[in-house]
């Protein structure tokens, strides 16, 4: 058992596949001799060299196109878009090419690619936009957002092996902010499954990324007051494992959905709507959503801190869900 940071676990996952599958390679900016953006590919250039760890120009759309095309001829590219803020520059490739190819050709080609990108607030104060709900709206994409080092490694392995395009969101605060004992034997995780991170009978909190950790913190606090919070980590935004959420809600009768993206139109809207449809008669209180306020994301640290939903916001939301 090695104690790995989230970033180290991501690199471990890629390293494992690079070692075992010659078809796998990584493309991105500053992924080589600089050690990767935020250390996100540290050590790979030394082991695999510039053919497999490929530095690219600032051409995000061509980078994703290059990943798609090489996947179509049988490679297993990982393309790194340094930050989620740059996804809008390559949307056509993602939603019109990668997402459509398998279906529109009636299954004639696979697009086995991983698009990894960094999102969310964190030690690095730049480019944190969280557009993940856009991708969950578009059929043909798998959308992952791990919250633990174990998932980071094992889902990365699964994403690389998956014959479909996978958008892999890496939360920047988690990068160097969480460490965990990770089993020495890497395995491919199951894509499309939510994880229950804490069992509780009173209220279900569904969260993604860093918010999972904040939810666990809130749960600790509320446990002292006798409120038992069940924390569900979505992990996969597409396919969305609404069954796991629904069966939790059937037990607790209450739901709070929390993410760092803007509340309006975020993935929390889909989870809340799906639960309102599926568990209407199980719910004892209105669902509560937590998300960023509806204004652009400010940059100065105090403003950023105020913008990003925190443990207090969660506590308030959970108490509101418990109130009625």
């Amino acid at each position: 058992m090695a104690r790995l940071s989230f970033a180290e676990a991501l690199v471990e996952g890629m390293r494992h596949e690079l070692r075992t599958d010659e078809r796998v390679f990584l493309m991105g900016q500053d992924i080589g001799k600089m050690g990767g953006v935020m250390g996100g590919s540290r050590g790979l250039i030394e082991e695999f060299g510039p053919r497999r760890i490929r530095e690219t120009p600032i051409s995000e759309s061509a980078m994703v196109g290059a990943a798609i095309g090489s996947a179509m001829v049988g490679k297993r590219p990982i393309v790194e878009i340094s930050f989620g803020e740059f996804l809008p520059t390559c949307m056509s490739q993602i939603v019109l090419q990668a997402a459509n190819l398998h279906y529109m050709t009636a299954g004639a080609v696979d697009v086995s690619m991983v698009l990894r990108t960094r999102i969310g607030d964190g030690p690095y104060r730049g480019h944190p936009q969280c557009y993940e709900s856009w991708f969950a709206h578009v059929p043909g994409l798998k959308v992952l957002m791990p919250s633990t080092p174990t998932d980071a490694r094992n889902l990365m392995i699964a994403a690389i092996r998956d014959p479909n395009p996978v958008i892999f969101f890496e939360h920047m605060w988690l990068y160097h902010g969480v460490r965990e004992e990770v089993d020495d034997v890497p395995v491919a995780a199951t894509i499309g499954k939510a994880a229950i991170r804490r069992v509780g009978r009173d209220v279900t909190v569904v969260a993604t990324g860093w918010m999972v950790h904040k939810a666990l913190e809130a749960a600790e606090t509320l446990a002292l007051e006798g409120i038992e919070v069940e924390v569900v980590d979505l992990v996969s935004l597409a396919p969305l494992d609404i069954d796991t959420v629904a069966s939790s809600v059937r037990r607790t009768s209450r739901i709070v959905v929390a993410h760092e993206a803007w509340k309006i139109g975020g993935i929390g809207a889909e989870v809340t709507a799906a639960i309102a449809e599926a568990c209407f008669f199980d719910l004892e209180a209105p669902p509560v959503r937590v998300g960023a306020p509806h204004h652009p994301l400010p940059m100065a640290k105090p403003l950023r801190d105020a913008f990003v939903p925190d443990v207090d916001d969660l506590l308030r939301a959970i108490r509101q869900a418990m109130a009625s």
Binding site: A66, S92, Q93, N100, H102, P139, K142, P163
Partner: protein
């Protein structure tokens, strides 16, 4: 014809008679097939007049190369790769026998045959995908190549720029052919392009660029053949501007009121097919009789394809659904829950 940057036109004499006959027949097939599609579907995009570019670009590739043809006239490329004509016509008609079972646009290609298919209508993005195919070939160290064509108007998309730059940085085995028909729907090139020759854009990427007469199929093919050889040899990409003219409307039923009939007529006189025929007859490659027989053969093949396609059922709603939204994950790689709803109707 200007040649900003590299060798030019008029090398048709270079080509052996078999190749020349093959090119002519390819143009004949394209003309016949596309005319049929235009008659059957008023929203088809006529390629008439541009057959020299299309045949010249896609003839003679190896079966393990990839092709990423422009949306105007791509059926010839698919046919050269072995696609079944009745399935292609079926696509134009929205029939169930199309390669994509009616899911994709009618002009999409049979992807399994090494074709970059049209799975969406956003111009320019396929240039990036085609470039990715070439990356795959370069990565595996093979000598496979990609030929990718696109319209003159499409070269103004950012994706054109990014893809050509990347291909040059990585010396990828790809040949970019601009099927320059002087129009983007109703807009003449002079309204949207600040330069006369698109081949000059190759200079921005340090790759060879050349302009050829697109109505001279032999010139186009010679240029592409040489560029393919360069690419196969590891010498990187080439941009070829093949200048032609769109004799028809943007779509079959487009009255095209935005242009002058006399200009159109002048271009009709430069039709690449009669031009190749007269060159070949003059050179003794073919007799008029043989040419008539080639037309007959092509017409017969297309007529048969139309008959089969028409007899096919329309695309069937059983063929849409959530199957094939995702490729199946092989056992032992990762369990997989799949899409939430099993049926096609929400």
């Amino acid at each position: 014809m200007s040649r900003p940057n590299g060798p030019g036109t008029g090398e048709g004499g270079n080509l052996g008679s078999t190749v020349r006959i093959g090119l002519l027949k390819a143009m004949m097939l394209s003309r016949t097939l596309e005319r049929a599609c235009c008659e059957l579907n008023p929203r088809w995009f006529p390629a008439e007049g541009e057959e020299g570019v299309i045949a010249g670009a896609f003839f003679g590739l190896r079966s393990d190369d990839t092709m990423a043809p422009h949306y105007r006239g791509p059926f010839l490329a698919y046919a050269l790769r072995g696609a079944n004509l009745s399935r292609l016509v079926g696509q134009a008609l929205g029939k169930a026998n199309g390669y994509a079972r009616g899911r994709a646009l009618g002009f999409t290609g049979p992807a399994a045959m090494g074709i970059v298919p049209w799975v969406a209508g956003d111009l320019g993005t396929t240039i990036g995908v085609a470039t990715g195919c070439a990356l795959g070939f370069s990565y595996e160290g093979s000598d496979r190549v990609t030929v990718c064509s696109f319209g003159d108007g499409t070269t103004n998309r950012g994706d054109f720029h990014e893809a050509l730059n990347l291909a040059s940085v990585w010396k990828l085995p790809i040949v970019y052919v601009c099927q320059h028909n002087q129009y983007s729907i109703s807009l003449h090139a002079s309204e949207v392009l600040p330069i006369e020759h698109l081949s000059i854009r190759a200079g921005s990427y340090g790759m060879p660029g050349l302009t050829v007469d697109g109505n001279d199929v032999f010139a186009v093919h010679t240029a592409v053949r040489d560029a393919v050889a360069r690419a196969r040899n590891g010498d990187g990409p080439t941009l070829i501007e093949a200048r032609s003219y769109r004799l028809g409307g943007h779509w079959a039923s487009d009255p095209g009121g935005y242009r002058l009939p006399e200009v159109q007529e002048a271009w009709r006189d430069k039709d690449p097919i009669p031009r190749a025929i007269s060159e070949m007859v003059d050179a003794g490659d073919l007799t008029q009789h043989e040419i008539d027989a080639m037309w007959d053969e092509v017409r017969h093949a297309v007529d048969e394809a139309i008959a089969i396609a028409k007899a096919c059922p329309d695309a069937r709603i059983e063929d849409i659904g959530s199957d094939e939204v995702f490729a199946e994950v092989p056992d032992g790689t990762s369990a997989h829950l799949g899409a939430r709803s099993g049926s096609w109707r929400a």
